[in-house]
């Protein structure tokens, strides 16, 4: 946890030197928590880095948990314009990213607890998430997005055994490994 905070702090101290636009991001779902707030910057126009914190309250199907993330997103410059009842919008259909997600809970671990022999398990608190976003630009500074994510183990298993997923799930088997969420981003 301490090392995570150190990385996070270093990240934000380094930001002003090479960033060219800052933003805040609020997301729900897509494996990032009921709500996940991030602060990030854009680099070289199309590359985005952010760090954030999420939360899931205690639910029937989920323990109360805080989440921390480091996220990268590549935003394809292609956009197309359209107009709805006199209001101009832009749509970015193809954007990809990846996130490092840390779940903070006593049942999860980053370092192997003492009772286990060395190397018995990989960390259970740290996951990698791959995601796709479609972004609707409402104005120059505000955008909403739809996010589809795939967990590390989902991608690995799909690549290993695509036939299993294609036989058992719809949409080329992607139904079995994808999750969705949505969010709002506001640029400064």
């Amino acid at each position: 946890m301490k090392s995570y905070l150190f990385v996070l702090l270093s990240f934000f101290m380094a930001l002003p030197q090479w960033a060219n636009a800052s933003y805040v991001d609020l997301q729900s779902g897509s494996l990032m928590g009921m709500v996940h707030a991030s602060y990030g910057d854009s680099f070289f126009d199309n590359h985005h880095l952010s760090a954030g914190m999420g939360y899931v309250p205690k639910l029937d199907n989920h323990a109360e948990m805080t989440l921390f993330s480091l996220r990268y997103r590549y935003q394809n410059p292609y956009r197309f314009d359209f107009n709805v009842e006199g209001h101009d919008f832009q749509f970015s259909p193809v954007n990809f990213g990846t996130s490092l997600l840390y779940g903070n809970h006593s049942d999860l671990f980053l370092e192997l607890p003492d009772q286990y022999p060395k190397g018995y398990y990989k960390p259970t608190a740290l996951r990698i998430i791959f995601n796709y976003q479609s972004i609707l630009h409402i104005s120059d500074k505000t955008e909403v997005y739809f996010d589809i994510s795939i967990l590390d183990v989902g991608l690995i298993t799909y690549v290993r055994e695509p036939e299993f997923f294609m036989d058992n799930y719809d949409y080329l088997g992607l139904e079995g490994i994808t999750n969705w969420g949505f969010g709002l981003r506001r640029h400064f």
Binding site: G29, G33, H62, L67, V153, I156, E161, T178, W180
Partner: protein
């Protein structure tokens, strides 16, 4: 173009789930619980006379390879005289909901009951909660055509003091509900007996167990301690590919037999479990 975008969103929304995090616990796994599968087995037993012999498939450690697991299940469907499958743990690798759901999808292809016991990998993250919700108890026993199967949790790193020796004895010595004599007693768990669990084999043997069945080691094995003589059969990881096969013959004076099967069960190494001498 607007219609295309709308269509895209409809398709993706229909095809995905709204998941709060990787650590949700409400796995969608209809029809795979121990209770439901034991009810199916009991119904089959009630509808059929006692056979001269029957077989039990033993699948272990299918984690990370649901496709190979499904292939094995479909193959077992084609084999004759296999009455049920013992699934000796480690369905999941990291104990998350999605992994259990893929395995449940594969299990739904089985034509015969599948009786699962919890593995150590099933017990990490929030896997213990998912297991209780999806499959039911960690420890349970059932009797099938006069053979008592005792499934027990021995994942001691994850559960502390396990297994419960007193419970194991009680389940072995509990009379059959129909009053018929118990001909064989077989223990089933994920991890083979731990080296540091002193006196465990003697305790099991003294309680009447003839054989224990396990997974965890990812290769076929069969061993017993020289001073006790209680055999332990270990099946390989499913993706090897392989699975074990137990044959139970009617009668307390008939031996048990275990075989190592490759995917199509052509190559086997057969072991006949010696009949314990009267104490």
């Amino acid at each position: 173009m607007k219609k295309l975008i709308f269509l895209f969103f409809v398709i993706t929304l229909a095809g995905c789930e709204y998941e709060l995090s990787p650590w949700e616990t409400d796995a969608h796994c209809p029809g795979v619980s121990v209770e439901e599968n034991l009810a199916r087995l009991a119904a089959f037993e009630a509808a059929n006379g006692k056979p001269d012999s029957y077989r039990v498939a033993i699948i272990g450690d299918p984690q990370q390879y649901p496709g190979a697991f499904e292939d094995t299940i479909k193959h077992i469907n084609t084999l004759e005289n296999v009455h049920f499958t013992l699934l000796v743990g480690d369905l999941a690798e990291t104990g998350i909901k999605a992994e259990f759901e893929w395995m449940c999808k594969a299990m739904s292809k089985s034509n015969i009951p599948i009786i699962p016991v919890i593995g150590n990998h099933d017990s990490i993250s929030f896997g213990k909660d998912i297991w209780l919700d999806v499959f039911g108890p960690y420890d349970f026993s059932f009797t099938y055509f006069n053979t008592r199967f005792v499934a027990y949790n021995d994942n001691q790193y994850e559960f502390g003091k396990a297994p419960d020796r007193e419970w194991l004895t009680d389940e072995a010595q509990r009379p059959a509900e129909d009053g018929q004599p118990i001909e064989h007693i077989i223990g089933v768990s994920h991890v083979p007996p731990w080296d540091d669990n002193e006196g465990f084999d003697a305790h099991m043997s003294d309680s009447g167990y003839e054989l224990t069945i396990h997974g965890h080691e990812s290769s076929f094995d069969y061993w017993e301690r020289e001073d006790v003589g209680l055999p332990h059969y270990i099946t390989t990881q499913n993706r090897d590919p392989g699975f074990g096969m137990l044959t139970v013959y009617a009668g307390a004076d008939m031996p048990l037999q275990v075989d190592n099967c490759t995917r199509d069960c052509l190559i086997t190494t057969s072991r006949v479990v010696a009949i314990p001498s009267p104490q």
